[in-house]
């Protein structure tokens, strides 16, 4: 099949359209402008609805309205714009509406800059807005995967009636790579089979109450005990998602003494470092979380219960956010090191290699000191 050259932003948009997205509302912000432009150019012609909203706030609430009608819906933005959308995302979660939200992260806090960053990990994986809820968070690492994961995103959103966030960064959004963007180019990732597009009926959707009782889309539960009941339902759903939907890619971890942990663009650079160090005989591997929520705890449990001495090096384009999930997953069973830069800086292959050497040397010195004692 013929490959085409696309930016990550365009691949996300094309992937969404092919996954059956029929409604998109967005507001321009760098570095995701190619996404909204692609939707403007193509969605309407392919039978969908495109709206350039007056703000990110309006866009997410348009997404709320369209989702309430039962169609596949999406919005996209970058970090400051995603902050603006958080109230709406909370309503979408509370009303149990399926929707896909794309965050092509840039530097922060505040206006920050437009360089790639991964500093919105906490916001994405901890709900982000008010209330006890989670978004399912998917983190593609290539343009091909950005395209492929869109189908997964829409399927998961429908299956669980829950917001799904695609967490990319400026580098992934802006870069071009050759991809297969037609037909069944959808690959399986990690431990999961690809999804087929299913359009199951949505009896809860607002369509007019012909022949049935009126449907109400709501997240307000004022009567005593009602909200707690609704929240417990959500919690049960989140438990099911955690049990079934963890996704990750593992590379050469089984004999590894050092395991790198990185997601998205950062994982590409980490993978290059793994190759380089393996060629020099270092026993090193990589875990690339694909779902950031639910965080892939299982692979960490599997590696940590071996009883083998292991060091995990978490690498992020932030000052340490995902590392908290790694530590929670490991529950103190392994050493966890960190390398991170943010605000324009991206940890390089060289920096990763140096960091691995540095703590490998330290560990060697420490163990010798112990032996001498």
């Amino acid at each position: 099949m013929k490959k085409i050259l696309m930016t990550g932003n365009e691949a996300i948009a094309e992937g969404a359209i092919q996954a059956g997205c029929t409604f998109y509302a967005g507001y321009p912000i760098t570095p995701q402008n190619e996404l909204i432009a692609y939707m403007a150019a193509h969605l309407q012609d392919r039978g969908g609805i495109f709206i350039q909203a007056e703000s990110e706030i309006a866009a997410i609430n348009m997404v709320y309205g369209a989702a309430a009608c039962g169609v596949r819906v999406m919005t996209s933005s970058s970090s400051p714009g995603i902050s603006l959308k958080q109230e709406g995302i909370s309503y979408i979660a509370g009303s149990q509406l399926p929707a896909v939200i794309v965050n092509i992260m840039r530097g922060g806090p505040g206006l920050g800059n437009i360089c790639p960053a991964q500093s919105d990990y906490f916001q994405a994986t901890r709900g982000g807005g008010h209330g006890d809820y989670y978004c399912i968070v998917l983190a593609p690492a290539s343009v091909q995967e950005s395209f492929d994961l869109m189908r997964t995103a829409f399927e998961l959103a429908d299956k669980y009636r829950n917001p799904v966030m695609i967490l990319g960064d400026g580098m992934l959004g802006q870069m071009m790579e050759p991809i297969l963007a037609k037909g069944e180019g959808h690959m399986a990732y990690g431990n999961h089979k690809p999804y087929a597009i299913s359009h199951k009926p949505k009896p809860w959707a607002l369509t007019g109450c012909k022949g049935r009782k009126p449907n109400i889309v709501r997240s307000l539960y004022m009567a005593e005990g009602d909200l707690e009941k609704s929240n417990l339902k959500l919690q049960k759903k989140y438990k099911a998602i955690q049990a079934k939907e963890e996704r990750w890619e593992e590379i050469l971890v089984n004999d590894a003494e050092v395991v790198l942990v990185a997601y998205g663009s950062m994982a590409r650079i980490a993978k290059a470092a793994v190759k380089s160090l393996r060629s020099k005989g270092k026993k090193i591997g990589l875990i690339r979380p694909i779902t950031l929520w639910p965080f892939p705890n299982k692979i960490f449990w599997r590696l940590a219960v071996n009883g083998k001495r292991l060091t995990f090096l978490v690498i992020e384009m932030s000052y340490g956010q995902m590392i908290e999930d790694v530590r929670l997953a490991l529950e103190g069973k392994a050493q966890v090191e960190f390398l991170g830069r943010s605000g324009g800086g991206i940890p390089t292959e060289e920096e990763i290699i140096n960091k691995v050497r540095e703590f490998a040397d330290n560990n060697l010195t420490n163990s010798r000191t112990r032996e001498l004692k």
Binding site: I49, I57, N61, G208, I216
Partner: protein, 242 residues
């Protein structure tokens, strides 16, 4: 014998939570009657605001959605675009439509969305306890203007209907009131017009309804109606704006 009145089918047979003398119950019943008369109950999708009227879906007997505070017209825009065959309307208070949601209001109107908007102006925030609204009159006392609204500190009552009228996207705006039976009949007519416009695909239509809030105006229901007639309607003149 000819039946001349019955409980509207579009209104559930329950009692409302509204305070004595509140205008919401009347306005919502008018909407239900109009929906019945136009025979569109099975096609209607309503968007309830954040404010006293948030649980309007407990009273209306057709499909409804909530919207975050101020975002009713963004939600309605999407619903109408996705389901143009349905009749979509928002029911919003003055804080929702003219303060926190002013941006969504202006842009939905300016896009000429084919929607009907019922805008309840009672010059005060009801649900949160009687604070200043964008439409609060000068010198009117509220929880956040204890000495009365002072233009120097709080600006002027916002005439959003007049502001919206300048947009070519807006096709119909009328300001009515609930202070007397005659005005209530006019209000119902205007609401019907706003729905008819949507059915005919005319475009953005809005009815601003001056509505009493005796609780936070600190007066008995009857005085509240007189206050609309004598004071509020002077600041917000009744009649067709566009």
């Amino acid at each position: 014998m000819k039946k001349i009145y019955c409980h509207p089918k579009s209104l559930r047979n329950v009692s409302t939570h509204y305070c004595p003398g509140c205008g919401h119950g009347i306005a919502q019943k008018l909407v239900a009657e109009v929906v019945d008369e136009l025979g569109i109950r099975e096609k209607v999708i309503a968007i309830a605001p954040v404010g006293c009227a948030v649980v309007a879906y407990d009273y209306w007997d057709f499909d409804c959605s909530e919207a975050a505070h101020g975002r009713a017209l963004a939600v309605a825009t999407a619903i109408k675009r996705v389901r143009p065959q349905n009749i979509v309307f928002t029911y919003q208070g003055d804080g929702d439509l003219a303060a926190i949601g002013a941006n969504e209001t202006i842009h939905a109107a300016n896009r000429g969305e084919n929607l009907s908007v019922i805008f309840i102006n009672n010059a005060v925030y009801g649900m949160t306890g009687g604070q200043m609204a964008p439409t609060t009159l000068l010198n009117q006392k509220t929880a956040t203007t204890p000495k009365g609204r002072d233009a120097k500190f709080h600006g002027y009552p916002l005439k959003i209907s007049e502001m919206l009228a300048v947009s070519p996207g807006v096709k119909y705006i009328e300001r009515t009131s609930l202070h007397s039976p005659q005005e209530i009949i006019k209000t119902k007519k205007a609401i019907k017009q706003a729905f008819l416009n949507q059915i005919e695909g005319v475009g953005f239509s809005l009815v601003e309804v001056l509505s009493p809030c005796p609780t936070y105006w600190g007066m008995p229901p009857k005085s509240a109606l007189e206050w609309i007639r004598d004071v509020m309607a002077k600041e917000f003149p009744l009649g067709r704006i566009k």
